[in-house]
Symmetry: C2
Subunit: 211 residues, 2 copies
């Protein structure tokens, strides 16, 4: 099954899993495809299609069993529980992400932050922040494979190299520099400026036909 999972499907499965964890914590035992569809923003038919493709059985009348669904999703997605990430670049974006409450729902935690100058950080920050020279040793000692990159644009390329040399195999890149996935290191670029410009483009185009 694994070989046929495309990116969009994986993202949906990860979102289903998050919702199921939240529902379980509320004491729910069953869930319907339309509730899951509403929660992750897709049609209920797509939820049912996803689950039938993955051979996750459900009873249309009674809904899906949450425990069973979670277990099956866990088998497909692998256990990310207690996985650790680090943040390189503890400026404003890095510090904000370190304190991002949305992470509390996730199956991972931020183990440490790194910066050339780990000073002037907010007192409310509970994360340990180390000088950049300690990055490689820390990543090796703690088997860190995934990092968030939030350094200034000018040092994005050298920071990328440093992360790869420290054994990092997946990077969520918040710098405006477009980094490239290589066989040993997967990059997801989040370019907030381009996202905004794309919204403008779509809003203007939408305005031509709609409203």
């Amino acid at each position: 099954m694994r070989g046929t999972l495309n990116k969009e499907l994986v993202i949906r499965l990860l979102k289903y899993r998050r919702i199921l964890t939240q529902l379980k914590s509320l004491g729910f035992e069953k869930v319907f495809s339309n509730n899951l569809g509403d929660a992750i923003g897709v049609a209920p038919a797509l939820v049912r299609k996803d689950f039938s493709l993955l051979v996750l059985g459900g009873n249309k009348r009674g809904g899906y069993n949450i425990d069973y669904l979670s277990e099956q999703l866990g088998l497909i997605l692998g256990k990310t529980n207690e996985q650790k990430i680090i943040i390189l670049g503890m400026g404003k974006i890095g510090t904000a992400i370190a304190q991002y409450k949305g992470f509390l729902q996730g199956d991972f935690e931020v183990a440490a932050g790194f910066d050339v100058r780990p000073v002037g950080l907010p007192e409310s920050l509970s994360l340990k922040v180390y000088p950049i020279e300690e990055l490689a040793a820390f990543c090796n000692a703690n088997s860190i494979q995934v990092a968030i990159l939030a350094v200034p644009e000018e040092v994005a390329t050298e920071s990328h190299k440093l992360l790869k040399d420290s054994g990092i195999r997946g990077i969520l890149n918040f710098t405006p520099v477009e980094l490239k996935t290589t066989p040993n290191c997967i990059i997801h670029n989040i370019n907030i400026g381009v996202e905004i410009e794309n919204l403008f483009f779509q809003v203007i185009r939408n305005g031509l036909s709609g409203a």
Copy 2:
């Protein structure tokens, strides 16, 4: 041409435009497809394909003329120059985004921030922050159509409604709540937690075959 622009192509065109603006500011007059490909992380062949689809002529020997490229991209993408956005939710993420240096390259500016409690903001913040009650009037008076949503998860849904009621037609959503695009309001969801989990999934899967 406009009707056939898919999302990935629009994103690439926006990225080309950013790079061209930077190259122009460096005094460049010509650029090659391999430089543009390197800069935005795609193969040079795709750059040439994009430009030939859009009938943007280039000379393989001498490279593309930057002024001509910029002008043609402007005709396709529309002018976003001097467009304004607002940020709803001036907590850590909202404040960090307001100060994000990557925006300086963009053809837009952050006009104001809004929060239920616009206090305790960093002194370095040059952005004006207003109470949320003033949102609708401000958006109307300044023809704001695009917003960044960075409120706590618990108020994401009501804030979404407030933005729509204030005339906002495009939202970049940083809350973990999945909001849905409607005919009058386009949503781009950026769920940082799901992005990280997706990276873990891919790194683990990658590890099975590689390295």
